[in-house]
């Protein structure tokens, strides 16, 4: 079992452990009773049955006792489950961080909703969170049903089209945790992954401030050329790079692409080689992805890669 790292996941993990204990005990007792029943020699061996009613009172009493015990165990399990959740929605604490997560075929769009006087920040496939602060997560789907699940941080919640969802979690310790889409969502369901990075509060605030900046301007001539390639290509129809005219919304925001650990929602690590491979033949990396191949001459491709790889 995974170690719980949020306030919400702790009672859940405790309850899971307790239920497994009960399961093991009941299973062992029942199996032992069955084996005893099969091997035990009856002091009065039954005559080949005649169909007449035998005196079953002792056996019935044993059955009633066992059923009563079962009912008690079930009542305890219900009570424990109610204690661990589900809880009614309560009003959020005032300092909660608000994040909107939108499921797409097959990637996650993550938007830090604007605090009063601030701006919203959009990224993809990487959820950065501060430790020790409640997070209100608002869920939307752009297409089919997905389900947000970061096992170490607690249970899953579906992203249902036309039905906005919400849950709250409070990560307790820094670390890097895996996340998945848990509801079957079609071809690339298996490779719709998410990384959750929990940081100390000040580290997180620094990251968020960095992330809010517009894209870094090209410094090398190669990067400069790459930006030209990007802006002249169909890329801009789907992708946004803040600080440039590119403002498409069908694919992930690329403003700080180079900061992210993976490409294509966890399909491959984010390195220059994988980035080039992804641009040239996305269908080989992640068959079914909606990303078309770049179809650029070698030189332009190299320029584009160096531009994108520089988007820190």
């Amino acid at each position: 079992m995974l170690r719980p790292v949020s306030i919400e996941a702790q009672p859940q993990a405790w309850l899971t452990g307790a239920l497994f204990g009960i399961t093991a005990v009941v299973f062992i007792l029942t199996s032992a009773a069955l084996i005893a029943a099969l091997v035990r020699q009856n002091p009065r061996p039954p005559t080949p049955a005649t169909g007449s009613a035998q005196d079953d009172r002792g056996r019935i009493r044993a059955v009633v006792t066992a059923v009563g015990a079962t009912a008690v165990v079930l009542a305890v399990v219900v009570a424990a489950s109610l204690a661990a959740g589900p809880h009614r929605e309560r009003a959020g604490p005032p300092d909660a961080l608000a994040v909107e997560i939108t499921g797409h075929l097959w990637w996650w769009e993550i938007t830090y909703l604007a605090p009063p006087g601030g701006t919203a920040v959009t990224t993809a496939n990487e959820l950065h969170l501060p430790a020790g602060r409640p997070v209100d997560v608002y869920l939307r789907s752009a297409d089919v049903i997905h389900s947000f699940w970061a096992p170490s941080l607690g249970g899953k919640t579906d992203l249902v089209p036309a039905r906005p969802g919400h849950f709250r979690m409070t990560p307790t310790e820094p670390g890097e945790f895996s996340g998945f889409c848990a509801e079957f969502c079609g071809l690339e369901h298996a490779r719709m992954r998410l990384t959750v990075l929990v940081d100390a509060p000040d580290t997180f605030e620094r990251w968020l401030a960095d992330e809010a900046r517009t894209a870094r301007a090209p410094t090398a001539p190669m990067e400069e050329e790459g930006r030209g390639v990007f802006l002249a290509s169909p890329c801009v129809g789907c992708h946004t790079i803040r600080g440039t005219p590119a403002s498409g919304h069908l694919g992930p925001d690329l403003t700080h692409l180079a900061e992210r650990r993976t490409l294509a929602a966890g399909a491959v690590p984010n390195s220059v080689g994988h980035l080039a491979g992804w641009l040239v033949a996305p269908q080989d990396v992640k068959p079914g992805t909606l990303m078309p191949p770049a179809g650029l001459p070698d030189h332009e491709l190299q320029a584009l890669v160096s531009y994108l790889a520089g988007l820190r």
Partner: protein, 605 residues
């Protein structure tokens, strides 16, 4: 004389139109097993794909098609039909009548079932496979996200098989309630007949929900309605409610007959009456009722109110009680009887050791906070296979071993039976036990591959190995049957010394089942001191005795239908219509008159 009256017509047409419930039922069982074997082979390919991380054996599209067909075929084309098929075979024999209430309808039902199964597998082999899962959640299953004919074929397969299931259910309900041997009042019915009755009533209540749902989905896809399209006012969660309102009772539809098998086998081998017959029957009925009150426990993660989730959690836990009652009654029945550990009983032991664990993980999953963590992970894959294979397939294999001597007249070889039990139980736990742990470690369901970084490789490899042990167990089982059917010792009417009426007649039973129709004075007629029979039923026509529903008092005589061509024609017309609709809505226009014509012929005076 009886043979001439009740036997089939001559030639191949005689075979096709034969209304003998036993022959139709054997076809049902064989067809269902064939579909089940195909679906099982697909799961082996899936296990090969998951054996190692980042495997490139299958692409995601093929894998998704495989698990969709595997689930759909196992549920709709194997599990329900095989249980119903055995019910159609055994119920008339066990209640002492000559045939089912509507012999021609039964023939129609079988051909519709066959056509539905061939349609689904035909689509699969012609690369028009559904890929949206056996549950076909919308909007993934809508035309926008699942183009092509796959989901349409899936939806029509549902219509085919549910139509057939409804036919079989009506047969069993009416036959059970109106054709029992005089004296077999409800309190003397064998537990298996009770189980088949409960299962059939559940089919009648549950199947319409999925037929409506799959038809609405087909209409969304074919004639642009928008029941399930959110942008146009449809509701995707409605689909889940309709699907699981059928889908959860479906599990009990499969499981309740298996409980009946267990009770019959236990009585025969412990050679004593069941402890707590009324409690066991009451539990079956309660399971059937409660089974309709917990469908939304499949949807905790989809978002529901606090009150709803508490209700469905409590209902899901409560259903453990009737099952527990039966388990305890069975143990109390066996206690100290020193039963002979023959293959059917060994399968029952395998059932216990597997199903009890599956039931307990069901209680774990019913707890909402735990379910939100484990839902849609491999833990659920483990749970459902413990319940369905442990709870239904093991009793089924035991039941076949137990009743095949009746069906074939020959005993199956014990050594092969024992070896297959050992291999199957060991292989099963090797395959599915590690999946609990995979689910706890965060492995979601329905993934065609997983990364090396996840650490799930070892347990997956073990599971794949186990799957091949299961295959070996099944091969030994089948080899045993093949040997037994040709060379097995002759069984005689009652090789197990069992108590119920099917063992009173020859093995295999003649076309008319029982020569003089039996009358019954106890719950265990074959253990009663003297057999009693019914007289005054004509043998030159297909006449049976109709009795009252509660007390089975003789009511009147009735002549049943014999073979006819019309059921064949109607099933052909229905098949043409349902298949045609997938390609053009005009199929309704030309298909309806065809069906109407066949019905007219059927009911021509």
């Amino acid at each position: 004389m009886l043979e001439r009256t009740w036997g089939p017509g001559p030639g191949w047409l005689g075979r096709l139109t034969d209304v003998d419930h036993k022959r139709v039922a054997i076809r049902y069982v064989l067809t269902a097993v064939a579909f089940g074997v195909l679906a099982g082979l697909l799961s082996l390919v899936m296990r090969l794909q998951l054996a190692v991380p980042d495997n490139r054996l299958l692409g995601p599209g093929t894998y998704n098609a495989l698990f969709t067909i595997h689930g759909t075929a196992m549920m709709f084309l194997f599990a329900v039909p095989v249980m119903q098929g055995l019910g159609l075979y055994l119920v008339p024999l066990m209640i002492g009548t000559r045939n089912l209430a509507f012999p021609r309808l039964n023939v129609f039902g079988y051909y519709v079932f066959l056509a539905g199964g061939l349609f689904l597998f035909g689509g699969f082999f012609l690369h028009a496979s559904p890929r949206a899962g056996w549950f076909s959640y919308v909007p993934l299953a809508s035309l926008q996200f699942s183009p092509g004919k796959g989901v349409d074929i899936w939806a029509q397969t549902i219509t085919f098989t549910e139509l057939a299931a409804l036919v079989a259910a009506v047969e069993i309900v009416v036959t059970t309630l109106k054709q029992r041997a005089p004296g077999m009042r409800l309190g003397r019915m064998p537990v298996l007949v009770w189980a088949m009755l409960v299962m059939s009533v559940m089919v009648i209540l549950a199947m319409p929900a999925i037929m409506v749902a799959s038809t609405l989905l087909a209409m969304d896809r074919l004639v642009e309605t928008h029941f399930f399209i959110p942008e146009r006012g449809g509701d995707v969660v409605l689909w889940q409610h309709l699907f699981w309102f059928f889908g959860h009772p479906e599990v009990y539809i499969i499981f309740v007959p298996a409980l009946g098998f267990v009770s019959q086998i236990l009585v025969a081998f412990s050679r004593r009456p069941l402890v707590g017959y009324p409690a066991i029957v009451g539990s079956l009925v309660t399971t059937g009722g409660l089974g309709f009150a917990l469908w939304a426990h499949h949807m905790f993660a989809a978002g529901m109110s606090h009150g709803q989730s508490v209700f469905f959690m409590v209902a899901s836990m409560a259903i453990a009680l009737p099952t527990g009652i039966q388990i305890f009654c069975w143990i109390a029945t066996l206690w100290g009887t020193r039963p002979a550990l023959r293959t059917p009983l060994l399968f029952v032991v395998g059932f216990f050791l597997t199903f009890v664990l599956g039931g307990l993980t069901g209680v774990v999953l019913a707890s909402v906070p735990v379910d939100l963590q484990l839902h849609d992970t491999f833990f659920v894959v483990a749970h459902l296979h413990y319940v369905l294979i442990g709870g239904a397939v093991f009793p089924l294999l035991g039941a076949l071993w137990y009743w095949l001597p009746k069906m074939s007249g020959r005993l199956m070889p014990e050594p092969a039976g024992r070896a297959s039990v050992a291999l199957l139980v060991a292989g099963f736990h090797l395959t599915f036990f590690p999946m609990h742990q995979l689910g706890l470690e965060g492995m979601p369901r329905r993934v065609f591959t997983y990364g090396r970084d996840t650490g799930w490789a070892g347990l997956n490899l073990v599971a794949t190995g186990g799957a091949f042990v299961i295959l070996a167990g099944l091969l030994v089982y089948v080899a045993g049957l093949a040997w037994g059917l040709r060379r097995g010792r002759l069984a005689g009417p009652d090789p197990w010394g069992a108590d119920t009426l099917e063992w009173a007649t020859a093995s295999p039973p003649p076309s008319y089942n029982h020569a003089p129709l039996p009358a019954v004075t106890s719950r265990h007629p074959l253990w009663a001191p003297a057999a009693t029979t019914v007289t005054g039923i004509r043998s030159e026509v297909r006449e049976i005795l109709v009795t009252t529903a509660g007390h089975a008092a003789p009511s009147h005589r009735q002549v049943l239908d014999g073979p006819a061509v019309a059921p064949l024609l109607l099933s052909a017309a229905v098949t043409a219509t349902l298949v045609g609709v997938v390609f053009t809505p005009w199929a309704i226009v030309w298909g309806s008159p065809l069906c109407f014509a066949a019905l007219t012929l059927w009911f021509w005076p």
